[in-house]
Structures are given as structure tokens and as C-alpha cells.
């Protein structure tokens, strides 16, 4: 309380007299990452506070992305919100339309911080910027999906190269089975990987209006695309005994199953690259590969996952200046490298990536091949269908997809019917969202 009062007093003083004060300007930052990753976020704040003596970042963990956004909304309604919020992609459609944020592009301009926006990878930039190309939020912890495979299992089965097509994947399943490997793929339904990133890599739509970018009257289309056939294939692989469902609810996650050597392959974010290095038992030889595509389709880029940093409205000029300084600090090559070394995330700017390549960063363990994610992300220039998704109620739509797919995998209904239901229910959610924000459109 006393601290708060003194901060307020200092801010008032600074605002009225404009005199330089020895007290630091504080700003609050709420982040969603937890555990080891949360500790890394906290560490970036410490590093920022130690690197300069003008500003002080007060960083508060919120126990998960979802809770970070929920808490920020509740706090915002009471006008006690933080200046900076780490928000995940699925939680931002409401924030974008509410207009209750300070676009980072404008923030940096107003506070006189120069940022080379063109330096950001297009697959990342498009996700976090307006149709005019200006950034809403600051990319930070970014990832994209890949698959992890057990090298020893592959060698035993005589697979020399990790397949990059689903047809090749099926051949690999058969070879693994023939070599005595009971479970080839540890499968956990993930709308992010199986639906969203799959559709990006195949350049097929998830929804109309260029996946929601050009209007709010969007309808889901995933029940009419190659996605249906892919999900039917997954179902077939499970029935034929190549794949097995491994989820937390079923008692073991797909990652644990992979690490224990039970299953040979699992799909996940590149962010797990660091985790597996930490938890894998001695002697587990493994590697990563880009997510496969079907042979008939020309591969496209995948898009970024993870979270970005949003500057919320209604704060003081001093706090904005402090937040801008912190964001600029995070974007430096050193700080990006700090994040990469301590997590599985990927660089967000071309210059940092190039510098790391030149230094041989990705040629050393434990970072070898981690930049496969960069290949996936930059495979092509983003098309209208591979910029990302702008869907309201994304969290609910994902939940509908997951529940229906699980029901289909359990044999309760055919996969096509399940996806039709998920799309129809998702469309109701989109219609409600459009009605809630009638007359508005994504900036």
C-alpha cells in the first residue's frame, strides 16, 4: 500500500513538475507462463531492472495464459489492470475488437523508440498486426508445431529419413510395426496442430473471410476440406494399431509416452524441445522434423503459436514509457538469445536468427535442429489463408472441435459427422460473437 502510494506520488510529481526524480517509474506486467517458463519471464524482468535505473518492471505470474487474460479482464473492469499483458492468440479477438489496447507500433512511435518492424518474420508479423501492417502487440515467446521421433526406433525399423509427407508417415508406421514397435504414434487431439497448423501447411481454409481476417460474418469451413480426410486417417491409424491415444485424462500424456520410449513419435510445439532435453532419460536418442503434408498438396508455411505482449489502455504516460523500454529491451538480440537458451522458443527477428546461425548456435547441443521450426514457419511467404486466424470465441471453437473429435475417436459417431457438428456449433459461436461486436471489424 505504502509502495503504491509512493509510486502514485512520484508519478504525480513527475507529471506536474517534470523534474527528474531519483525514484524509478514502475509498471506492472502480468504473464501467463508457469513453472520453469514462468521463472524465465521473471528473470527477464530482473535483467531489465538491473540493466537500467530509470524504470522498474513489476512482473506478476498469473498461473496460465487463460487465467492471465481472465484476470486482466476482471482487473480492467475495475480499472486496476496492468500496463503490459502476455496474451495467447486464442484470447485476443475480444481484446482486438474492444480497442482497449495501445498498439505497440504506435506506442513505440509515441515514445520515440525505433523498431525495425520489417525485421520480424512474416509468419509472426501477420499474426500480430493489423491489415495495414502495423503491429498490435509485441511478438515474444513464439513457437510452431513439429514432430518428435525416436531415432533408435527409426533405425531399427530401417527408416533412414524422417518422413515429411503423411504418405511417408504411414509407411514409417508400417515399418515400425514390422520391427516390433507396438505404438508408433502417441496421439493427443490438438486443434492447434491437427486443424489450425495442418490447414496452414496445406493452404486450405479453416474458415471463410480468409480465416476471419476480412470480416466478422465468418463461417467455419474445416468440415469441407482435406482436414476431414486427415482426421479419418488418424482414426484409421488408431484402429489399425499404429497410433494410440495418450492424453492426461487417459493417464499418460503423449510426451511422457514418447520420453519413456513407449511410442516412437509425437506431435507438439517446438517449445517442448527444451523440456524433452531436460526430462529425457540418459540414452534416449531423438530428433525433430517439420509436420508432414499430403503429397498432392504444395507445402505452405505454418504460423506462430505462443503468446505476444499487449499494452493495455488507460495507463499513465510514464508507465507507457517504461513498458516501451521493456519491450525494446526484450527485442534485442541478447535478450532473444537468453529466451532461446532457457526455453524451446524461436527467434522472432530475421537479424537475430541470422546472427545465431552465423555463430553456429544451432549446430551445438542442445539446440541442434531446433531451427527446423524456422523452416516450417518460413517455408513460403504467407498466403491469404496462411496468415493466421482471426476468430471470435476461438477457445470455445477449439473445445467444440476437441469434444467432437474425441467422441468420434471413441467410436460414438463417424468422423465426418463429428466435424460437421463441431463446425455447426462453432458457427453459432461466431454468429454470437459477430452480434456482440455488431458494426465493428478487426483493425
Amino acid at each position: 500500500m505504502i509502495q503504491k502510494l509512493s509510486t502514485a506520488a512520484v508519478l504525480a510529481l513527475a507529471a506536474t513538475s517534470g523534474s527528474a526524480s531519483a525514484e524509478k517509474i514502475k509498471f506492472e506486467y502480468w504473464y501467463g507462463l508457469t513453472g520453469d517458463l514462468g521463472a524465465v519471464v521473471a528473470e527477464t524482468c530482473n535483467r531489465f531492472n538491473a540493466a537500467q535505473d530509470q524504470y522498474e518492471a513489476v512482473c506478476v505470474g498469473q498461473d496460465g495464459y487463460e487465467k492471465a487474460v481472465q484476470n486482466a479482464i476482471a482487473a480492467f473492469r475495475a480499472q486496476k489492470h496492468p500496463t503490459l499483458l502476455q496474451s495467447f492468440d486464442a484470447g485476443t479477438a475480444d481484446l482486438m475488437l474492444s480497442g482497449e489496447f495501445y498498439p505497440v507500433h504506435k506506442l513505440m512511435q509515441d515514445t520515440g523508440v525505433t523498431v525495425d518492424w520489417a525485421d520480424y518474420f512474416p509468419g509472426i508479423a501477420n499474426y500480430y498486426s493489423a491489415s495495414t501492417g502495423e503491429f498490435f502487440s509485441m511478438p515474444w515467446n513464439s513457437s510452431t508445431p513439429v514432430y518428435y521421433f525416436n531415432k533408435a526406433h527409426f533405425e531399427k525399423a530401417g527408416i533412414t529419413e524422417a518422413p515429411v509427407t503423411w504418405e511417408g508417415m504411414e509407411e514409417a508406421f508400417k515399418a515400425l510395426k514390422a520391427s516390433g514397435q507396438e505404438c508408433s504414434l502417441a496421439y493427443a487431439p490438438s486443434s492447434w496442430i491437427d486443424l489450425e497448423q495442418f490447414s496452414m501447411a496445406h493452404n486450405i481454409p479453416v474458415a471463410s473471410n480468409d480465416n476471419g481476417y476480412t470480416g466478422l460474418d465468418t463461417e467455419l469451413l474445416f468440415n469441407t476440406t482435406l482436414h476431414v480426410q486427415h482426421m479419418e486417417n488418424i482414426q484409421r491409424w488408431i484402429t489399425e494399431g499404429y497410433a494410440a491415444i495418450r492424453t492426461q485424462a487417459a493417464g499418460k500424456t503423449s510426451r511422457d509416452s514418447f520420453v519413456e520410449g513407449e511410442c516412437s513419435i509425437f506431435f507438439s510445439s517446438i517449445a517442448d524441445h527444451n523440456t524433452i532435453h531436460k526430462i529425457a532419460p540418459e540414452g534416449l536418442s531423438w530428433d525433430v522434423q517439420i509436420i508432414p503434408t499430403y503429397e498432392a498438396v504444395e507445402r505452405h508455411n505454418t504460423v506462430v503459436g505462443g503468446a505476444s505482449l499487449w499494452v493495455l489502455s488507460g495507463k499513465t504516460e510514464g508507465e507507457y514509457q517504461a513498458a516501451a523500454a521493456y519491450l525494446a529491451f526484450l527485442a534485442t538480440k541478447d535478450e532473444q538469445q537468453f529466451l532461446l537458451e532457457n526455453t524451446g522458443y524461436i527467434p522472432v527477428t530475421k537479424s537475430t536468427y541470422d546472427a545465431l546461425l552465423a555463430e553456429g548456435f544451432y549446430a551445438k547441443e542442445p539446440f541442434i535442429n531446433r531451427d527446423i521450426a524456422m523452416k516450417s514457419l518460413t517455408w513460403t511467404e504467407p498466403s491469404n489463408l496462411t496468415k493466421g486466424l482471426r476468430l471470435g470465441g476461438m477457445i470455445q471453437i477449439r473445445a467444440e472441435w476437441t469434444a467432437e473429435v474425441e467422441a468420434a475417436l471413441a467410436g460414438q459417431k463417424p468422423m465426418k459427422e463429428a466435424l460437421d457438428t463441431a463446425a455447426a456449433r462453432g458457427n453459432e459461436i461466431l454468429a454470437r460473437f459477430a452480434k456482440t461486436y455488431e458494426g465493428k471489424s478487426f483493425p
Binding site: F76, A250, T436
Partner: protein
């Protein structure tokens, strides 16, 4: 009997005010807010809302998955209430008989009530884990026989058991207190007339317990409807395939996770009406069979 009265009404008002204020701030105000939101489409970050009349209610009530959520909530409430009260009564009768070690049991049996629902859910996750839990022994009979992540009925059973376990302690305390308030002379007289313990329980103690039983039915059912969130969240997450998507859990997932404040508000109003209706039915029809003295 003469009753005491305060002379001036302002003293009454002053004494009531703090309590009324608390109820207003923590109950009527939020309820009124929810009621208002239920008839609008509310933007989560503020910024206004649109009046839509009964549309939120129509949407919810025309959703077949919502009705399955209502059905499983009713099943859950009735089953946990029956199971918890049955176990609590049995345990209380034994403790009341002052069997060996009853003092220790009396304390130990109250503890589970102090365990938070999410902790109960987590603990039962280990119990029900199909790969490593106690229930995995079922799978030694035939592999895959027990797997609540695949079989909806088993998942419902799992949350019922966990929910009932949590409720036992509360009912136990009330049953034991009620049993101990039955005059010893009555049981002793019955014993002298040759009634064995079981006969005394059925013909003497149970009829004298009816007010407690009625009270506990009302409380347990209300509690099962409104306080099941933590167990579902940690144990099943509403799955598999929405099988354990209880009404209160659906309100949370739509409102807080999905930012659909208005839809969740409409569901809260429906849940409130349902609980009020059930309580009314209980007072109207069940209470007739209760003997208070």
C-alpha cells in the same frame, strides 16, 4: 410467552445493516448483474452491450448438449446425495454405538470436509488413473475395462464417488449430533424391551432423525449442483465427450474460458431457478413426512 422487542426501529435497522449490506454486495448485486447480462450480449472488455431479450435463454435451451448437461447434473446431485448421506449415516450410527476407537474416528471423519474440492479431484485422479491408480486393478481382469477417459459412464461414476466422499464429512457431523441428542432413556428402554441394535436403529433412531435427514437432503442437493466445479475441473475437465460437463462447469467454461459472459449469465439464472424449484418441491412434498418433535 412474551417476546422482547426493541423500542425504536432505527436500532433494528442499525443492527441489521451490516449483515444486509454483506448480503446485498455479495449476493443481490452480482445476481442482479447476472440477470441483466442474461438479457444482453456483453462485451468482456467493457465497451457496451446489446439488448437481446430472451435470445440467450433460447440459445441455451435449444441446445441438445445443454440438456444432457442438465441431465448429468441431476444424476450427479441425486447420486452424490444418496451415497454421501448413506455412508455418513452408517458411520454416524457406528460412532454413536461407541465402538472401539470411536473418539479417534469422530475427529478423523470430519477432516475430509476441510479438503478443498480441487485437492479432492487431484487425489481421486490418482485413485482412478487407469494406468497406475487403485482402480487400475480392474484392468488386470481384462485390459481396458476401466478407463474413465474413454467411457462416459465411468467418468460420471468417478465424479460421483469423489463428490460423495467430500460430502460425507458434513453429513456425518449432523447425523452424529442428531443421534447424540436422542435421549439415552429411549434407547435403553427399547433395549430392555428386547430390541436389538439394528431394530433400534430402524424403528427408533431413524424416525427421530427425519428433521436432520430432510435438512441434509436440501443442503446436499444444493451443494452438489453448485459446488461440484473443483472436482470436475481437476478430475475429468468435463469429458469424455462432455459426459461430465455439469451445469456449473459449463457456466465456467463458457463464461470465463470462452468469454461468453451473457450465455454464462443466462445459464446461471437457469441453474438458480432449478435449485430454487428443487428446494421448493422438497419443502412442499418431502417435509410432510418430517416429524419435528
Amino acid at each position: 410467552m412474551r417476546r422482547a422487542h426493541f423500542k425504536t426501529s432505527w436500532i433494528v435497522a442499525a443492527l441489521l445493516a451490516p449483515q444486509l449490506l454483506v448480503i446485498f454486495v455479495f449476493f443481490y448485486w452480482p445476481s442482479a448483474q447476472a440477470l441483466y447480462w442474461a438479457f444482453t450480449l456483453e462485451q468482456p472488455w467493457g465497451g457496451g452491450n446489446t439488448w437481446v431479450g430472451f435470445e440467450n435463454f433460447r440459445n441455451v435451451l435449444s441446445d441438445p448438449y445443454y440438456w444432457s448437461s442438465v441431465r448429468v447434473s441431476v444424476i450427479f446431485a441425486l447420486a452424490t446425495t444418496a451415497l454421501a448421506m448413506g455412508m455418513a449415516l452408517t458411520l454416524a450410527l457406528f460412532v454413536d454405538r461407541q465402538l472401539a476407537g470411536y473418539r479417534a474416528f469422530r475427529v478423523a471423519l470430519i477432516w475430509p470436509y476441510a479438503v478443498a474440492a480441487p485437492a479432492v479431484g487431484l487425489a481421486f485422479q490418482f485413485v482412478f488413473n487407469p494406468g497406475a491408480g487403485i482402480f487400475s486393478y480392474i484392468n488386470t481382469i481384462s485390459p481396458g475395462l476401466w478407463d474413465p477417459s474413454r467411457y462416459p459412464a465411468q467418468a460420471v461414476l468417478a465424479i460421483i464417488i469423489a463428490g460423495a466422499w467430500k460430502q460425507v464429512a458434513y453429513s456425518f457431523v449432523f447425523f452424529l449430533a442428531a443421534l447424540q441428542s436422542i435421549p439415552r432413556s429411549l434407547t435403553e428402554a427399547a433395549a430392555m424391551d428386547g430390541a436389538r441394535p439394528l431394530r433400534r436403529m430402524l424403528d427408533l433412531q431413524l424416525p427421530l432423525l427425519t428433521p436432520t435427514i430432510f435438512f441434509l437432503i436440501v443442503i446436499n442437493i444444493t451443494d452438489s449442483f453448485t459446488d461440484s466445479f473443483g472436482i470436475v475441473d481437476t478430475l475429468t475437465g468435463g469429458g469424455p465427450f462432455r459426459a461430465t460437463d455439469l451445469m456449473v462447469y459449463k457456466i465456467y467454461s463458457d463464461g470465463f474460458r470462452g468469454f461468453d459472459y451473457s450465455g454464462a449469465a443466462a445459464q446461471s439464472i437457469i441453474l438458480m431457478l432449478l435449485v430454487i424449484a428443487l428446494t421448493f418441491v422438497q419443502f412442499r412434498y418431502v417435509e410432510r413426512r418430517v416429524h419435528y418433535s
